[in-house]
């Protein structure tokens, strides 16, 4: 593979994780999967030497083993317990695996392609 350089990296653990105040309002309904992705992405962009990347020249690639699995279980439980007309629209929209990429794109103003790959 040519032309690939890692210019910044960030790692976060869920234990003790708190979204920064600047993102608190925007992530108030987000699950842990989304919140971690957004906060980590923001830190990486902040640390990257390539500042002011054009929005349409920046893409998102998220690799995840389990994705929003807990949210999936919650939405399925709601479907079973409450019936198909009662599931929360927010819960359902957060249960798709590309939900985190969507949040990252919106909150960090990234207009390039967004891919989510899961095992």
């Amino acid at each position: 593979m040519k032309g690939v350089t890692v210019t910044a990296a960030c790692s976060l653990l869920l234990e003790g994780f708190e979204a920064p105040e600047s993102l608190g309002q925007q992530l108030r309904r987000a699950d842990d999967f989304i919140s971690l992705a957004v906060v980590c992405s923001q830190m990486v962009l902040k640390n990257s030497p390539a500042k002011n990347l054009p929005a349409d020249q920046t893409g998102i690639f998220i690799g995840t083993a389990y994705g929003p699995l807990e949210t999936n279980f919650s939405s399925l439980a709601s479907l079973i317990d409450d019936g198909e007309g009662q599931i929360s629209p927010t819960l359902f929209s957060h249960s798709v695996y590309n939900a985190a990429a969507g949040y990252v794109a919106r909150l960090l103003d990234i207009h390039g392609p967004a891919l989510t790959i899961t095992t």
Partner: protein, 159 residues
Amino acid sequence: MQGIVKGYGGASDAWHPTAPHPQGRGLKKALEIAMRDAAMTPDQIALVNAHGTGTKANDIAETTALAEFLSDEQTSIVSTKGATGHTLGAAGGLEAIFTLKALRQGVTGGTIGCCCPDDAFPVRPLCQGETRELHSRYGISQSMAFGGGNAVLVLETMP
């Protein structure tokens, strides 16, 4: 072999967790990228299999984006979700297959369940009961996702 992917384009709306950008900003970008990747011009496209969920927000955004690229006089715009429902993760693959099959047969049917397209649509989808012959073996299959994801495939059926 049914066909090949001649080009691909992807872009993000960066707009809303569920609603598409009202003018289809991300889809327009994805279409631009896909057509450039395929080295093709819009007049070569015979068929677009739209994301076409039949919601007001989606359909107006999608037709607005498409109107900047092609004419509904030359290109047939259909959604197959009227027949299958929204198959979620399977939609992209399934609809690419439908696109290739239609291109191979050289004819497309209209959108099941679509009888009275909104007058606000800048391009008119093919309606239920209508059929049209396809003037080329090239088509587009496009999908839009929660979170503002947009993906466009330019497909060519094999002769």
